[in-house]
């Protein structure tokens, strides 16, 4: 690790890319390791970073879909980001992450230049205590490393499988949590992307046992701009997530991400494989 990387925030070091002949090179980070390969949120942020770093990139992120095709191995990887169509107001991208010439992750992204319009929010900011009133989850040793790279304060819906393994299943998997980078970091599109995936799997919340899981596809819609994100500085975001259904090997998750003062800045969904 270089001296510069040592001084960088671990999130910036984890999503750092270097470019050569149009191919971006990155490296997995021990700070964002999951049980098998890196945390999906950091991978999604890194694919988005390849678009943002690209010299042809126009506008700000609008939507992002990341498909996890295989578990990335710890170590180096390459990313190709290709602008598939550039319009006056929107730009479309296709992104692939490779290891050893094989595709491990694919993604599509839409970027745009936003304009002021009629605006309205229908979703309701959850009625929750302030972040400082909620205890942070303990960073116990058997949790994967990425959890320790966040300060997570769960208001409702802590994973039953961790917290009450002796309890029966519960009838819903709604989680509401405050989240912040640990150490603190100014929020931006990259860290927001990663935090959209930082809910514990719905099935761990719902059931009294851990089962093998893996996200197959993650989608994020950005309802904000860089200026609004900057205003939130490094304060906690509020996330809420739920499942609609667990059915023969796959469950969904939908969620919303809010600033501390009640602005809806992202909505997200994912589909997750589970075994048994």
């Amino acid at each position: 690790m270089s001296n510069i990387e040592q001084k960088m925030h671990p999130f910036d070091a984890a999503t750092k890319l270097t470019e050569e002949s149009g191919i971006y090179q990155g490296h997995t980070s021990e700070h964002y390791a999951n049980m098998l390969g890196p945390f999906g949120g950091i991978t999604a942020a890194t694919l988005l970073k390849a678009v943002i770093d690209h010299p042809e990139c126009q506008g700000e992120p609008i939507s992002l879909t990341i498909n996890y095709a295989a578990a990335i191995s710890d170590g180096a990887f390459n990313i190709k980001a290709n602008p598939t169509r550039t319009n006056r107001a929107t730009q479309h991208w296709y992104i692939e992450l490779y290891q050893n010439e094989k595709i491990f992750v694919t993604g599509t992204a839409v970027f745009a230049n936003r304009r002021e319009t009629w605006t309205a929010t229908e979703a309701h900011f959850p009625n929750v205590p302030n972040a400082e009133k909620i205890p942070s989850i303990p960073t116990i040793d058997d949790l994967p490393a990425w959890v320790k790279s966040y300060d997570i304060k769960i208001i409702e819906g802590a994973p039953l499988a961790f917290t009450h393994p002796d309890k029966d299943e519960i009838d819903n998997s709604v989680t509401t949590q405050w989240i912040q980078d640990e150490p603190k970091r100014q929020i931006d599109f990259l860290s927001l992307t990663s935090m959209c995936d930082a809910f514990f799997p719905r099935i761990y919340v719902r059931r009294n046992q851990l089962v093998p899981i893996g996200t197959v596809s993650l989608t994020i819609y950005f309802h904000t701009d860089a200026k609004t994100l900057k205003e939130n500085d490094d304060k906690h975001l509020l996330g809420q997530a739920r499942a609609n259904q667990f059915q023969n090997g796959f469950f969904d998750q939908t969620g919303e991400m809010w600033t501390e003062n009640g602005k809806l800045i992202a909505t997200t969904s994912q589909f997750v494989y589970y075994r048994k």
Copy 2:
């Protein structure tokens, strides 16, 4: 149009592809025309069809994301479907739709072989009258052609912009509707895909005016299998959709699709551009 196509259901004719050297050729259908180019649902179904028709395709659809990069012109188009990664249990795809060598639509899909597992539904089937008790929306002339290719029965959330253009804005855009192909057709993954996009734009429901809109990205998670779809035969599906936020040029929609007897078979989201 050939004699065979005349005997086909219009949906099958609209999504029909022929293959040459690995490239699929299709043609827009007057039955699924929208205000500008084809209805997004039929386009999504046609991209999924290219994967299903592909000789290397394994399993059934699990997730699908379609990005609408430019308005397709009426006429012929080409589709390339590329298996990006084939695992034992899952297969990932990247799909592109071309006209005149330019990309108009991109998509990614995940297919899988499902297995029986622990299963639970958290979403609640809406408490609604049976389809036969709800009147179908009139197929008035100024509606785009695709609307007439469906029997749509709106229980709540008809487009305010059409129905009460003199009324003030309302405070939510929830729509609950029964939907069926017109003429009737056995439901399958392709028609389910198209029906996921067959809600009128949330902004038409919410506001008392029509504004230019266009979906930029559509995601569908399939919670079902071909056998379950077959059991629903050609009966109406129940769809429910809502927006979380309309913000500086983009609004989201999340929705659920249910069989007549209350099975959740798809969840869907989309992000939509709007002007002013």
